[in-house]
Symmetry: C2
Subunit: 189 residues, 2 copies
DNA sequence: GAGACATATTAGACTTATCCTATATAAGAT
DNA sequence: ATCTTATATAGGATAAGTCTAATATGTCTC
């Protein structure tokens, strides 16, 4: 459901086509929302039915025609109401944590290898965060007002802090493991 | 897809019915996986079709009959393979971050109120984490081997660290806002 | 001039998840 | 007596997300 409002949010900045939205979403909010291209088109159709957006056909001679979507005043109100409402917490689903929870079934060596893999992924994600600001400078020029920028930076900061906490967690776990602190069950060979 | 392995993981500890699994999941892994009851039954049916679990009918005179599920050797291998494979990162979806990203459309007062709401929720989640260990002591006695416990505690530690990082983020944001650091756009009234 | 790549939209099949509800039984409370 | 809670399973409807690929055109490179 938040995809509806992510799209409304962008259309509130500027009119976009489905194709534009995919690019803009990928560049700006990828760190907390990944949008499937075909889901974007379906959502646009739904938002049109709901009267939250209007479609404008823009003919192009050299390329396929674009369908550019504009937010309506109904859509604008709906966005504001959602923004000031409770956070959409939804359902918690962390696949990696499921893996960790049942990891006792693996050998100590395999477990250590898994955690080093985790730490490696987390470090590379942290490295990617450094590049996001520049990418936005180049591609995503409609959300550049200082006020909008402030909140975009807040989401980036949240991602950074969370990922740093995750990495510290993985490193602390590895340290414990290397100190031989994984308990061994009796039936374990 | 991780629900499949969460269920396999528990059946690897002990045979359970769908009803048991719902309770066990709610008590132990709720902080990173919330399972819909009817989804559990559907998943058990799917796992049975796949040959990963077997169903055993247990007749009861006073109550409806139980269908107790046992993991098969095929299921056991599948679990081990999944556990030693790459972390199921899946798709990133954070509704709250969508809210923050587009929050510039609200007034400064509403924004501050939203963030204080966030911080409040985060504090109460942190308080709930303290109660989880006791609940597990009481209800969830099959996952009590020291080795299994070690990994259960690791998932708890991850949740704690993440939530603490989130709270620090919200508090830092509130501080900035109170210091009048939210930029104001020209067209803003 | 062949092939790769970028632009631009959309459909179809499939999987997964969520919500609500129905069914049945019995214990315990008010 | 009735209401709630607990035990136990499951179906229908809807929503949401994923994967794949079809359609159409222009540019750029080798």
């Amino acid at each position: 459901m938040s995809l509806d409002y992510a799209i409304l949010g962008f259309l509130n900045y500027h009119p976009y086509s489905g194709y534009d939205l995919k690019k803009v979403l990928d560049v700006s909010v990828r760190h907390f929302w990944n949008a499937d291209q075909s889901q974007i088109y379906r959502t646009l159709a739904r938002l049109t039915d709901a009267g939250y957006v209007n479609m404008e056909m823009v003919e192009q001679s050299q390329r396929p025609d674009r369908k550019v979507y504009h937010i309506t005043s109904t859509g604008h109100s709906a966005l504001l109401q959602w923004l000031s409402g409770p956070p959409p917490l939804g359902s918690t689903h962390s696949g990696p944590m499921v893996q960790v929870f049942f990891m006792s079934a693996l050998s100590d060596a395999e477990i250590l290898r898994q955690f080093e893999g985790y730490a490696h992924i987390m470090r590379s994600v942290l490295a990617q965060y450094d590049q996001v600001p520049q990418q936005v400078e180049n591609v995503y020029q409609d959300v550049q007002s200082p006020r909008e920028r402030f909140f975009w930076l807040l989401t980036l900061d949240s991602g950074l802090r969370t990922m740093r906490a995750n990495l510290e967690w993985a490193e602390a776990a590895i340290k414990k493991m290397k100190a031989g602190q994984i308990p061994v069950d009796k039936e374990q060979k």
